[in-house]
């Protein structure tokens, strides 16, 4: 499972795709797609708060970098925890 873990990052079917959200924040989406996201925001407090916060990042590149760092750190942590568990067993 661990190799394929890198593939993910994406979205569950009904929720917003992370890449799409990044594109929205960088104003790279069509009018229709932007509206779709804004419509989701109106129904989704988490997404609404998130966009409000993400818009405050000075550089969208830094923002993407933070996300990657956080995911890498999480991944390492989880592998460590699983190894510890195996030893205990």
């Amino acid at each position: 499972m661990s190799d394929s873990l890198k593939d993910i990052l994406g979205s569950s079917n009904k929720d917003i795709d992370n890449q799409k959200l990044m594109d929205y924040l960088s104003h790279r989406l069509s009018k229709q797609d932007s509206h779709d996201i804004e419509k989701m925001m109106a129904d989704d407090d988490l997404l609404n708060d998130a966009v409000e916060g993400l818009e405050q990042f000075k550089s969208k590149k830094d923002m993407a970098e933070y996300v990657e760092q956080l995911n890498n750190h999480l991944q390492k942590k989880i592998i460590k925890k699983n190894q510890r568990k195996k030893k205990e067993n």
């Binding site: 499972m1 661990s2 394929s4 873990l5 890198k6 593939d7 993910i8 990052l9 994406g10 979205s11 569950s12 079917n13 009904k14 929720d15 795709d17 992370n18 890449q19 959200l21 990044m22 009018k31 932007s34 509206h35 804004e38 419509k39 109106a42 129904d43 407090d45 988490l46 997404l47 609404n48 708060d49 998130a50 966009v51 409000e52 916060g53 993400l54 405050q56 990042f57 000075k58 830094d62 923002m63 933070y66 996300v67 760092q69 956080l70 995911n71 750190h73 999480l74 991944q75 942590k77 989880i78 925890k81 699983n82 568990k85």
Partner: protein, 189 residues
């Protein structure tokens, strides 16, 4: 970034897998779906990029710990609540805490929206048109442009002359008032 491998698996299913074999990798998959969103939420409350990043890391650790202990049914609402409360704690520690934040930030875990039946929604639709007429002018205008004419925030701002922030707030208040009006109507019936 567009992995497809697990896209067909819902949050709930990922959690179910985890509760069966207690392999933390399922949580890794699940949490990474929320990294960007959580970063945004933390940034909204903490208003500092580095602090927001650290905060997400702490939320991840907390989440992994808590999920070993008990079963969570609606992951999305749950992690949103965990994140908001964690931000509040941080603000409190730094002494930036205000009552205004307290009122808005702590949310009780509500029933998931999925619980609303479609039939009920259908009935409500009839009431929406009536309720829409009862909103104030600004809210009515924004709600109509957004939901019925499918304009973006930017477009609504240009049409009405409101700022984007005002548009957002008219929309949110308008939606909330609509809900209240509709609830009132269905009770009266």
């Amino acid at each position: 970034m567009n992995g497809i491998k697990y896209n067909h698996i819902s949050d709930t299913e990922l959690l179910e897998h985890f509760y069966i074999d207690h392999n933390n990798e399922w949580l890794g998959v699940l949490l990474q779906r929320y990294t960007l969103l959580l970063l945004g939420v933390c940034m909204k409350y903490l208003k500092n990029e580095e602090q927001a990043k650290d905060c997400v890391q702490q939320i991840f650790e907390k989440t992994i710990k808590e999920l070993q202990k008990y079963k969570v049914d609606y992951f999305k609402s749950w992690i949103y609540m965990v994140a908001k409360n964690h931000c509040l704690m941080q603000l409190r520690e730094k002494g930036k805490y205000t009552t205004e934040l307290n009122e808005n930030i702590i949310v009780p875990l509500e029933d998931a929206p999925e619980k609303n039946s479609f039939i009920q929604k259908d009935k409500q639709l009839d009431n929406v048109a009536v309720a829409l007429q009862q909103l104030n002018k600004e809210q009515q205008q924004c709600v109509t442009l957004f939901f019925l004419e499918k304009k973006s925030y930017q477009e609504i701002a240009s049409i009405t002359g409101y700022s984007i922030l005002q548009v957002k707030s008219h929309l949110q208040n308008g939606k909330r008032n609509l809900k209240l009006l509709i609830e009132k109507m269905s009770k009266e019936k």
